[in-house]
Symmetry: C2
Subunit: 327 residues, 2 copies
């Protein structure tokens, strides 16, 4: 099996690549070849004995998709995107990369599929940003997409394209709407959602963190490990039972900030909690208030997608995967 | 007020143009200038004393939008599209005209809005084809778009773009999802929905018509006159109360084919009904079975959009508007 990963140098891309490299398989099938692409050349994964092609390219270059597909990958994991903050700040860049780049990729697959017996699995990482307030406490599988950001708009458009290209038989697509990934490893970043991770990640290593919203804010979370599991499932499952609606809300944990903090207290004690400093930001609160609070992800669960069952589990996974299992 | 109409030579475009020409106004405001565009040069409307520019152009030509906007219209009515059957048959043409053409127009407005104090009203004619089975008997204002045609996909994508461009302040957009327009004047056409009109229009003038589906088929209808009314309302209403969700399911009449036929009997008698010949088409039935059957169009009704209240009314409007008021 040949697997192509766009956005392979990102956090999820690296973890997904590492998961393949560590076993040499994807969903039980042997992976003989990896094509890894990003704006900077992705690193060669440790311990993978198959062939690896690393490409530095810009997916908004109309010629890039042909390079991605030259090895006719069996599975395409399309993660490449600019994030929500940047897509909001730079309108043209957001549409060029998140929409046009995706469409170039889809078109390149279509043209290959027309010329030969080719219909790869294509997994697109979408986002709960396709939803916008007002939303119910639990968004079900038939709720409208009404994004309030350009990023969410671009993701929702790509979902529609993916379903049409799949219906036409150009590829076998699945779009998975990822929860906010928590705890994101690495340094604090500028994303409006960054505090959901930093109020846990920083205190776990004895560092202070800033909480810009009230404790009552509720949001939808899954661990990086769960996100990799979603991608593996989407890449390898039988799509027959999915039907023409190829977009799935992923399962997750709905938790308030207060519940996040209590989970931190359980795992790491009062001293860790004391490192969280409240510094309200009306600007971040305004953005966060438009986001989903929870989902009834019935279809995805019925199709075998699994997330954590508590916030404590999310924190323990971070300790296992990022801190060598030790506090 | 300067009004631009793309797709002005189509059935709805001509009726909307005629409505403006007959009074010289739109929503009470004087229209001093009309720009009419289509693939073939639209006819000059009768009785309009303002300036008229008729343009023959292809909206999928990246240069066309600049010509459309050169007079900086205050109101843009974007009707231009290829129909569902053609978009399904010719994948490239459908995306080129229905998606890229619309995006070129939106982009041209954005670039004008950036360079000067310009934020026109932009009304986009969308369609209930954005919905696909399974659907509830009454689709509400929060139901997901899951189109089962490329045409429906293209309309749903343009809706998303319109909302993002509106949120950004590039124009003041509204997308209205039109019911199946019934009774369409003119000759029978090849559209899968054509029979909804022809089983009434043909018997009303003593001609036979073919019914390819069972009497139990239920669908969502509004008259051409109602469609013009929707466009007038969307072009002139205060959009303040609409909020960021700029896509509205238009009201209509939910009727079974049996109810359509009984309305025909009431208006035109048994002799007219006897002209309908049943010739089941599994292919048309397959397509129609994926379409919406009815809506709870609460938002649109609250915002002042009005359709007919019975199918009999739809037939009487056809007799008034297309047959000089005489059977």
């Amino acid at each position: 099996m040949h697997v192509l990963i766009s956005g392979a140098a990102g956090m999820i891309g690296r973890k997904f690549t590492a998961a393949i490299a560590s076993t040499g398989t994807l969903g039980g099938e042997t992976v003989t070849e990896l094509t890894l692409a990003d704006t900077m050349e992705p690193e060669q994964p440790d311990g993978f004995s198959g062939e690896v092609t690393s490409l530095a390219l810009d997916i908004s270059d109309p010629q890039a998709a042909a390079r991605l597909l030259s090895g006719r990958p069996d599975v395409i994991i399309h993660l490449a995107a600019i994030v929500s903050g940047e897509a909001e700040q730079d309108f043209d860049k957001g549409y060029r990369i998140n929409l046009d780049g995706t469409r170039y990729l889809f078109e390149a697959v279509r043209h290959q599929s027309a010329s030969a017996n080719y219909c790869p699995r294509l997994v697109f990482a979408s986002s709960v940003a396709v939803f916008g307030a007002p939303v119910p406490d639990e968004i079900d599988d038939e709720f409208l997409t009404a994004p309030l950001t350009s990023y969410g708009t671009q993701k929702a458009i790509c979902e529609l394209l993916l379903q049409d290209y799949t219906r036409r038989g150009f590829f076998d697509g699945l779009a998975i709407r990822l929860p906010t990934i928590c705890i994101r490893p690495g340094r604090p970043n500028a994303a409006a959602s960054g505090f959901f991770s930093s109020i846990l990640r920083e205190p776990l290593v004895g560092k202070p963190a800033i909480l810009p919203v009230p404790d009552t804010v509720r949001h939808w979370h899954a661990s990086p490990r769960a996100a990799v599991g979603f991608l593996v499932r989407a890449a390898t499952m039988d799509t027959g039972p999915v039907g023409p609606r190829r977009v799935l809300n992923m399962p997750g944990v709905s938790a308030t900030v207060a519940e996040q903090i209590e989970a931190l207290r359980t795992v790491a004690g009062d001293a860790a909690v004391a490192l969280i400093r409240r510094e309200p930001s009306p600007e971040i609160m305004r953005i966060v208030s438009t986001w989903p609070r929870g989902f009834a992800a019935d279809r995805a669960i019925a199709l075998g997608f699994r997330a954590e069952s508590s916030f404590e589990e999310i924190i323990r996974i971070h300790i296992e995967d990022e801190m060598g299992g030790e506090l």
